[in-house]
């Protein structure tokens, strides 16, 4: 694919998703280019998390198309392994493997899924531990780490798979206020290095600082979107205005 650089890395078109009778996404479209940082904000239950969970096929969709580097996600014969090699994910509750140490958590997927050499993987994992500033915590179990530390291990675990894009699903929502910043700092560094990031977040100041583009969702549709300065200072839609007035 020679046009890789020009085409959007993730292209979402008219996506519909229902849980039973409840339609959560009612025709959502967005394009995310390589190296971009996208923040999706909106009230609870507006479908933000559902949307990003569709990108790596943790949720299936009923209608529409999601292309990740040209690979169609809404395809019954989808090669999930191929997709998930490209798309990393970090969760609200960290979801580390509690029976593995921090280092083992990071090493597991490259060894088991990518069948990489254990020695090389360990080198990479140690470098990643350093990158997320957790030196000395390699041999600690998740239960011995604080929320913020666990979340940074989770980010390193995702990075170990060398993904092209990472999904962040309200990754600071479960953290103590004082540890939120250490995680945000790690994400910010990733963004500055050019990692494509799609974040669902309630951290408005962070979104304003880091995002290239902000999407506001409500009741399953994208109400408004734009670059942070325009979005925060010149919101047009009354729903966006109301939401921002409550949260800022």
């Amino acid at each position: 694919m020679t046009t890789n650089e020009e085409m959007p890395m993730v292209s979402i078109k008219d996506v519909h998703k229902s849980f039973g009778d409840l339609e959560v996404l009612k025709g959502v479209s967005m394009d995310i280019n390589r190296g971009e940082v996208i923040c999706i904000i909106g009230p609870s239950g507006s479908g933000k998390s559902t949307l990003i969970r569709c990108i790596n096929a943790l949720n299936d969709i009923q209608q529409g198309s999601i292309l990740v580097e040209g690979q169609e996600v809404n395809d019954p014969n989808l090669d999930k392994l191929e997709l998930r090699k490209k798309v990393g994910m970090v969760f609200q509750q960290y979801n580390l493997f509690p029976h593995k140490t921090a280092l083992e958590n990071i090493m597991m997927a490259p060894i088991r899924v990518l069948k990489q050499d254990k020695k090389e993987v360990e080198e990479t994992a140690r470098a990643l531990i350093k990158k997320v500033r957790l030196e000395g915590k390699e041999d600690n179990y998740p239960g011995e780490l604080s929320g913020g530390q666990q979340q940074r291990v989770a980010i390193a675990r995702s990075l170990a798979m060398k993904p092209d894009v990472i999904l962040f699903d309200e990754v600071t929502a479960a953290l103590d206020p004082e540890t939120v910043n250490e995680v945000l700092l790690t994400i910010k560094e990733l963004a500055e290095e050019g990692m494509t990031c799609i974040l669902v977040t309630h951290e408005m100041a962070f979104a304003r600082e880091v995002a290239d583009h902000i999407y506001f969702t409500d009741r399953g549709v994208i109400v408004e979107h734009g670059p942070p300065t325009t979005f925060f200072d010149e919101a047009k839609d009354p729903r966006t205005k109301e939401f921002l007035s409550q949260i800022l």
Binding site: N56, V113, G143, M161
Partner: protein, 247 residues
């Protein structure tokens, strides 16, 4: 050692407390063989029943309705009938239906002997409980942890092997230990189809020596210590499996 054995002979002569499995070399051999047989039977049944539990719990999560029903039916049959009846069923009913084979002396003998049937029957009996125990452990593993593995590209089998089972194991160990202790005690039922395990050999000895009281006391103590060792080992294992900050 000989004087140690001799002492029990004197004990018998002086007090009438008859422990021939200590002073008589023939009875000693019988008792020891019975002990080994009990160990062999227990280990094989422990092994197979755990395997059955693991596979059964995996099949219970199958997307195929009939696979799940089959496992459910198996559990109901083996949980709701007495193990002795199951043992007789396998040995006398199933055993009679199987073809006979040549015994090397021109006669015929059954395809499977009492020992093999005891292993099969008791493994399925304990296995039925193990399936339920494994299932409870698997259900205790948070769905979000499994999802994290999915998002990293793990396959269903890899998730079961690397994530679900190791975590489920820690949750279900106390229940599993209970069932395995029960299984070891249930091996005495093999006595009923003449498998020469410890209780069977003890019966042989008391028939020959008319020392029922002594043998019964000895049996109780022997099983108490045998199962005690198992429980001790299991408890150590439980402690070794503990992970900081989990469970």
């Amino acid at each position: 050692m000989d004087s140690f054995y001799e002492w029990f002979k004197i004990l018998y002569d002086d007090t009438g407390i008859n422990l021939p499995f200590l002073y008589d070399s023939y009875d000693r051999g019988r008792m020891f063989d019975g002990f080994l047989m009990t160990i062999k039977l227990s280990l094989l049944c422990l092994f197979f029943s755990v395997i059955i539990g693991m596979i059964g719990a995996w099949l219970q999560n199958s997307p195929l309705k009939w696979t799940r029903r089959f496992v459910g039916g198996y559990i109901q049959i083996f949980r709701n009938t007495p193990p002795l009846v199951q043992l007789y069923f396998f040995y006398f009913a199933v055993g009679a239906l199987l073809p006979k084979i040549d015994n090397g002396y021109g006669g015929e003998m059954p395809l499977l002997g009492g020992f093999a049937w005891a292993v099969i029957s008791l493994s399925f009996f304990a296995g039925a409980f193990n399936v339920e125990i494994f299932r409870s452990g698997i259900e205790a593993v948070p769905k979000s942890t499994v999802e994290a593995a999915e998002a990293l590209g793990f396959s269903r089998l890899q998730i079961y092997k690397d994530i679900t089972l190791p975590l489920a194991f820690r949750v279900m160990l106390p229940a599993l230990n209970n069932n395995l202790v029960n299984l070891v005690k249930t091996t005495t039922l093999a006595y009923a189809i003449a498998v020469p395990e410890m209780l069977y050999e003890a019966n042989q000895i008391w028939s020959d020596n008319v020392n029922v009281t002594e043998m019964m006391i000895f049996m109780l103590l022997a099983y108490f210590f045998l199962v005690g060792i198992l429980v001790w080992g299991m408890n150590r294992w439980e402690r070794a499996m503990k992970i900081p900050g989990y469970g």
